[in-house]
């Protein structure tokens, strides 16, 4: 398949590098408005580069596109792709809010396009293992969870599009905690009630920290806490702890720790610990971590062989509804909101 990349920032380059190296995939063009990186690519790569992505879609007619641009551009770009029957992988979050993405859902369904949203943690071994354990029912009835998302990133007013609410849709919740919310959706289904508070520690327009309680349709309840102004977290660290009738499970990027009162569904009683080396499997090419390769491979496979993905835009749209509810609740000083 021929794939074009829109937006040459960190994520655009990462996807371009991986896809270009996959069997059966050809990176056919790249587009960006900024001349800095385009110039670099132009000098060293034979792929055509465009400063107008619509012209690129028209001229190159790719089978698929990667959209890795600021959030406010996502909807228009997805629609330009959908209009031309181009499958797409769009970086997370899906859109500024759930409402603006609704028209895309229909257009994509009409054309039967393969879509993927960059919730890459579903392709990280530890979070996959946790999904497997949770789905097995080994923990018994789920009583509750705690989820955290922290990174030491921002300790003064931000710069660039992320600090501007009109362009980003919000702060740490929409740009980072959506990974955590996506995992919670994957693990527990859809929230039916959200209450939240947001804190503006350094930024004026977007929240730097937030705390929210979520209640899911199956009765599971828990809380999340997130901040991008949390010292001592060199890299983004996302973790979830789950309490069940028969034990506990905790998962983060590095490991999965399961404790069971009684052996169940193939898991022994007491502690079971899976570390990253236990769960590691090599990939065709590793650039930013094997999870990105698995993600791009899943996308390419679905495009080439046909098929659906559970990380599609419908699933990401549901996450977006939860984000909207969280922001609405925080605006109303913690009043419960139904997504």
């Amino acid at each position: 398949m021929r794939v074009a990349v829109i937006g040459i920032g960190t994520m655009g380059l990462l996807h371009a590098g991986i896809l270009n190296a996959l069997e059966g995939v050809e990176l056919c063009a790249m587009a960006d408005k900024s001349n800095h990186l385009l110039g670099m690519i132009k000098n060293h790569k034979s792929v055509p580069v465009f400063d107008d992505y619509v012209k690129m879609l028209e001229g190159e007619k790719p089978d698929a596109a990667v959209i890795a641009t600021p959030v406010k551009l996502h909807v228009a770009m997805m629609r330009e792709c959908a209009k031309r029957g181009i499958h797409f992988l769009v970086e997370k979050p899906l859109s500024l809010n759930a409402h603006e993405a609704e028209k895309v859902l229909q257009e994509v369904a009409d054309k039967k396009l393969v879509t993927m949203v960059g919730y890459v943690l579903r392709y990280t071994e530890t979070f996959q293992k946790a999904k497997e354990v949770l789905s097995s029912g080994a923990l018994g009835r789920i009583q509750g969870f705690e989820g955290t998302s922290y990174v030491a990133q921002l300790f003064q007013g931000g710069k660039g599009w992320r600090s501007n609410r009109k362009d980003s849709g919000g702060g740490v919740v929409i740009s980072q905690a959506t990974h955590l919310l996506d995992l919670l959706h994957w693990y527990f289904g859809e929230p039916t009630r959200v209450t939240a508070t947001c804190q503006y520690l350094y930024s004026e327009e977007v929240e730097d920290a937030a705390h929210a309680q979520l209640e899911f349709d199956n009765g599971v309840r828990g809380w999340i806490d997130c901040s991008w102004s949390r010292r001592h977290h060199r890299l983004l660290e996302i973790g979830i702890e789950v309490q069940g009738e028969n034990g506990t499970l905790s998962v983060d990027d590095d490991s999965v720790k399961l404790y069971l009162d009684d052996a169940a569904f193939g898991h022994g009683a007491g502690w079971t610990h899976w570390s990253k080396p236990d769960l590691f499997h090599g990939v065709t090419i590793d650039i930013g971590g094997p999870q990105y390769t698995r993600q791009d491979e899943a996308f390419a496979r679905a495009v080439m062989l046909g098929g659906t993905l559970d990380t599609d835009i419908v699933s990401a749209w549901r996450v977006q509804k939860t984000v909207d509810a969280l922001y609405k609740s925080a605006e109303r000083r913690g009043e419960p909101v139904k997504p």
């Binding site: 920032g9 960190t10 380059l13 990462l14 371009a16 590098g17 991986i18 270009n20 190296a21 990176l27 900024s34 001349n35 800095h36 990186l37 385009l38 110039g39 670099m40 690519i41 132009k42 000098n43 060293h44 790569k45 990174v151 030491a152 990133q153 921002l154 931000g158 710069k159 660039g160 599009w161 992320r162 740009s175 991008w228 001592h232 977290h233 060199r234 890299l235 660290e237 983060d252 990027d253 590095d254 490991s255 570390s275 990253k276 080396p277 236990d278 590691f280 090599g282 990939v283 065709t284 090419i285 590793d286 650039i287 930013g288 094997p290």
Partner: protein, 294 residues
Amino acid sequence: MTIDPILLGHNQFFGVNHLEAGAGNQKAIYFSDTQRILEVIRGARELGVRGMMMSTHERALLVADEFRKDGALQKEFGVYLLIPDVAKYIRQANEKGLVNAITDSLGSTSMTEKLATLLSGGIGALTGDATKVLTTLIDFEVGPFRDLNLKSIVLHDVLADLALGLDMPEVFATFDRHVRERYGAIPGYGTKNLPRMVAMLKRAGVENPFIMAAINKKGFWVNPTLAECEQCLRTEKLRLLAMSSLAAGYLKPDEAYEYLYSLPNVESVVVGVSNMRHGEETFGAIRRQLERRV
């Protein structure tokens, strides 16, 4: 120039722990006192270690200052400099975009450095000449460490693997030439994709490359498979700097190094230790295997 057979790693000094982020933070607290880092470096030196990996992390600048105060460390201890400090750029790019992250970094240098940077490549950077951008970035990152005993300058795996994925052999050719000509150092290449990188460097005209890659019998961080990497070591001409030889602490030193030195073309190994007891155990296990190999 010869490559030292054992190199002290640096991740533990700066809060990096691949088995558990929390443990990394604990060590970062301990090593927030630069003297404690120096204790480990001097201890490793007493145990016969003659060089170390060093990132261009802001705390590494403090370590470099200590090297200068200690003439022996400055002149005799080999520095294998890993550039650029990718984590810093990614954190900043997450916040303000990739281009802002790079230009702000270059902007944070002193006036003299800025002028030098501008003269040597800044104009190229503005016009988008990739070769100039790369050599400017190298000079910017290497600058503060230039007066140390720089044995090698190693291109960080994230950047090297990106150029690999994008299929840009010129990046490697440029890096190789610049590091040799300007610094008289051995150009090194970090990668998580050993066989692919070897093939790429061959195409780029880099002979007998010095490559830093993970290799361990657990297969942790070894791509695409352990068997293919072993095959590559057996059949290709390269000098491997083995990293993750203990699979992030998963393997015991004796079993890890017995495996490692059963492979050909292993020229050096980089391993992080946090205290002397740990150092004696780890370096001792390596030395036993090295002696057996000779």
